[in-house]
Symmetry: D2
């Protein structure tokens, strides 16, 4: 809080898991980052007025509202932060941008490429100086931001392999309830868009290279689930005698990918990897070095440098908590790690800095659209009968 | 922020590394914990008025002061949070307790047993309902709090071994400057009191058993260091031609310990373990199970259960992020880890809860005094010539 | 060496890396396993008579030969052990089986499905009691053999995911020479058949389920390499001014797989994963448990059991060196691990036991043929233009 | 087997766990190492003639004997390999040396310093060219031998810390039987001499520096155990109604140590570390680098190099299986690890090479005596009442 400029006032649309993480970020960023303007959580918006009011109280906002259109129309709101489910993204973001509000929109940007294109178009045609950012928050993990520096500096050389896995297990139990994330109309896709999209964005961003083609399989292991009576975290609780409804999205996805630059990618995302709670992993092999990361150990990066002397080569376990590492100098002494919510604090700080300095934040809606195109290609591929070669076919 | 009761107003004495962590905790605790009263950082106190004012602004306090006595005398202060160097602990804490303020005092409680005894006495004789807590923050690591449950539940059986290491490396460089932590008059002791004290407290708390006797060695590897011109985090910077002053504390300590209950302890603390940034480790072996922990992977606990079926026994890597784990349900979904500062947020929440419910917080000054007695025994042991048996003496 | 029965006399065809491992196995198996008949390395066969003679001396065989047909025709040979490159497998194995010799043939069984079918046919039509085994040696890793027991016992429940990676890095350097393993005429395929075949066999064997369909990409990153002047281990050395020849096989392969039973598989094999020396990894997730294995830590198996009590769930690091584990009781006390060559010793012991007890060894040529069919499907898939869906195609 | 020189004929005294490992080594060493003379296991010696005969058959020796004196007197024996319990070491080794036989004696060299001094004296006064070696086999772990090179090359700089743990768990169960290893008259000491001795030797050998003084505690957690009816591996089996006898040695030991060169050592050895099967660990911190090793992952060495560039520093996980690593070139391709018994094969090869080249092997009896002096100092220290400082004594 190092400036007397007027604060950037934020309207938070949605107040569940993601909203809570964003609220913490808006509150915390100005305490640890030297920002040109301080963000301030002003209004919490939700469908239900009473619940929105409670959330505003809990999250430390002065006001609440059940009408996002009214909030967007206000003059005293600078940033609209869209944390609601996917079916709301396009409408809110497009309206907010048209009204000259900066927008931070959760990922995946949209449910379809068409929606995402309209959103990217809205970002391009918004009043001058209006910024749009998509919340691929893992870009703000210090270990991954540092990995990106290593790659950009050529420390990995020519990239040969990308292997990315995002493994969770919270749907393994067939009695886990039917939340909105399992409804295609609301979420757009399932595991693919929710966590697979993170892997795709991380990979494209780390490499500075896009996926050109894919070959994919999707799976829905459990076709019906009990209908939810109470949301809780990622899951929630269904009544014992709850009716069942259909799961209309994928439980798991696996695909191989060709990057434009020639690297071979292997991607997998699932909520059925029993024992893996939030294993967002990526390994990249170049001809000069490699990196490996697992979010379950988010403060560590493994780095292999082929130029180390013979015999002394090996993956280094770097604790990405040094002052020279991205974001780390703002926090604690070396070796004192960060947690999940720091990603959002970094994201908030980066967006404020971008707004103040008049540059586009990372990732833009345009970049998020490029992820959306990969999601779409994965779904098209998985739907094509020609994609699988039978083992016992004609030799 | 779930209550309309009057907030508990906090005066923060000291605003360096620890003060910053505490300020974050007071701000964050009420947003994630359902507290009977909300804490509120009211005043930041520092020796230098201008710097205290800047700190108050940065940390989000309305006021600042350079006179802790005046602050303690105010009626609108409920909690005095002592984050200043060790030579200030006793005076401030004793005065605050006498004035009926709740006190949170950083560790180690004091520089000497005599000081600690006076502080414990002050806590005992303070006005009814006044609470005193010592900041052994690692007790608030979910993994360690869960380990304590396992031990208390008998899952480890009779405890045979405690091996605790607290390994840092920031003094390895002989040019690292002479901060207050290396001055016996201010800090009381060096590595022993700063980080060794954490290991001692953690071990005694986990076991519910005290160390009865020790045999210790202390080492100061670098006798003189450049005098500091600018403090920065744990270290700081000295001018290139800085004069040198004597290091008057230990750089490293190692001791064996006998617990009252029969367990054999091995403790080591150092700032010269090159490559170990903040490896606060403890392993405990019982006759039914074992646990192992390393703060560099603070969200994990290793647990070995000898009752697992033959062939399938092995240390389990538990991600201590489940709703059933201590503190974890207040935060993020399973697998989304916490960071260093969460320890302080948990500590703040626990203190507020203790104050509101009229019970002593953990650890009390009395418990912290018991740690101080061990520190003292370690120093006495290391100073005794009889402690070492020469290898080439008479057989 | 616990019996007076006549030994089983072995002719070893090929004496490079694999031949050396097999020779050690024939020598060692009877010292650690209680075998009904003792194997004995009798003859080493190689193309070059002088080098075969040297090898026989080094490997401890009494005789050598440059004529495998003559050796197969001898009455005093019981087992023909085919360790020569892939272009020799079919001819030698078929002739040996026809002559009533038991055959152990290195993997992959053949260069093509057609060859493999002829070999399986030869095994079926060999004189009664003649046994044929393919050298998928990783089946003899105690950790994997134990994993198979866990799966067979239902400890993993219904299998959802198989993710197998076999990562090496010895071809990363474009100056690595052109060995026979990079020549399609000799080797059949590259990384796919050499190490990918291990992953396929391991997965099918662990699950007791076959891959039904695949979608694959192959890559050859380095098109030409210096022609080898001296073989050494897996690599060798080329003269500084060596001519270059074409690499005619794949450097890397990635494919997704559908198992007949519904599991989703992801497979990757490469010799370009810099820093991964021999990372033969597999993870399997069921709805009751998971296992994970990495040959770089071959004495360990990670096992997750969802029936562990809430809060205490986590992957167990099992040291597969207990007396109850497969093979382990024959070796050293618990915690004293085995090495790579033990796989071959176990294989030799298992083959001898199968011969003596008149049952088929594992894997039979028929099982190896099933692996060959997957290799073939992978190559067909990778060659099909329809397999890849472009990201920027029509939405 | 690359020479026509006469083989070195070995008499193996003792044929239990260690004898079996040594027999394998004598058989295997000449197949993988290019030795000037080939060793050959000629005679197996045991107290019981019938059991010795069976062992000779199993281990592949042509002869057996129950009379070690008669065997030592033979002209056709070159090496006497003492694998019997500790109470036999001195008598057999001294007699064999006097007879001009090379001796390999298991560790710890003796039960007391006095015995060890007589053995070292016997080695000094043996006929010219007679070599004596003590079986501190862990020196032959490639990872540790490589660590020694790094230290000798100055890669760690000035050594500050040594922390060595040798953790096993096979005595945790109070029903584990009373083997000879728990009898002071036979074994000399318990955990201290059996496994603690390895840590002491490893540390002194790695540093090239000796322990000057110690401060120690010993523990016997279980005072009586059922008397053994059948030996098996390290343990064995007692009858259900077995009588109990006293454990006369230590179950666990912990000591701090001062090295002559100034390093601070912490040592711990136990058979009560539940879940740790054979965790022979050592970490060494210097002012330029660190190494860490755990025998449970014997093919890996962790190495931290402070000269790595800022931000990219971290412990490297080196797979010590490269051709440039000690011993590794004789075995398998990079990444294909070795097992426990390879230590003995390396030891056998090194002893043969030393004999042939007329130099002393490592470690000599003199070096082993230096370990014995430390064991003695540890026992003297642990027996001294003055060693422990009570926590609640006078301040």
């Amino acid at each position: 809080m190092t400036t007397s400029s007027a604060p950037l006032r934020v309207a938070l649309v949605g107040h569940a898991f993601m909203g809570r993480a964003h609220a913490h970020a808006w509150r915390t960023a100005p305490r640890f980052f030297d920002l040109p303007r301080d963000p301030e959580l002003a209004v919490v918006v939700g469908r239900d007025a009473a619940r929105a009011a409670t959330a505003a109280h809990e999250l430390g906002a002065a006001e609440s509202s059940a009408d996002w259109r009214e909030v967007i129309a206000r003059d005293d709101i600078d940033i609209v932060d869209v944390c609601a489910p996917g079916d709301v993204h396009a409408e809110v973001a497009i309206a907010a941008l048209a009204a000259g509000k900066h927008v931070l929109c959760e990922k995946p940007l949209a449910r379809t490429v068409a929606e995402a294109e309209r959103m990217a178009e809205a970002a391009r045609t918004a009043p001058a100086g209006t910024r749009a950012m998509c919340g691929f928050s893992y870009r703000r993990t210090p270990a991954l931001a540092y990995a990106r520096q290593l790659i950009a500096d050529g420390r990995l050389g020519a990239i040969r392999h990308v292997r990315a896995q995002y493994l969770q297990d919270w749907l393994t139990d067939p009695e886990a309830p039917l939340t909105w994330r399992l409804d295609k109309d609301v979420a757009g896709s399932g595991t693919l868009g929710d966590i697979g999209a993170h892997s795709i964005d991380t990979a494209q961003w780390l490499l500075g290279d896009d996926i050109a083609a894919v070959s994919a399989q999707l799976r829905t292991f459990v076709a019906e689930r009990p209908i939810l009576s109470e949301q809780r975290g990622l899951g929630g609780r269904a009544a014992a005698d709850a009716e069942r409804g259909p799961v209309t999205v994928d439980d798991a996805v696996a695909f191989t990918a060709s990057f434009a630059g020639g690297a071979l990618g292997v991607f997998e995302a699932t909520r059925f990897a029993l024992g893996r709670r939030n294993a967002n992993r990526i390994e990249i092999n170049g001809d000069r070095g490699s990196i490996a990361f697992d979010f379950e150990r988010m403060n560590e990066l493994e780095f292999y440098d082929a130029s180390d002397d013979d015999g002394a080569q090996g993956f280094r376990r770097i604790q990405v908590t040094e002052p020279v590492h991205p974001y780390a100098a703002r926090w604690w002494p070396t070796g004192h790690g960060l947690g999940y919510e720091h990603l959002f604090t970094h994201q908030a700080a980066d967006l404020v800095a971008a707004i103040a300095s008049g540059v586009d934040p990372s990732p833009t809606f345009e970049e998020a659209l490029r992820v959306q195109r990969v999601l779409d290609a994965v779904e098209r591929s998985a739907g094509a009968s020609s994609i699988l070669t039978p083992v016992n076919g004609a030799a």
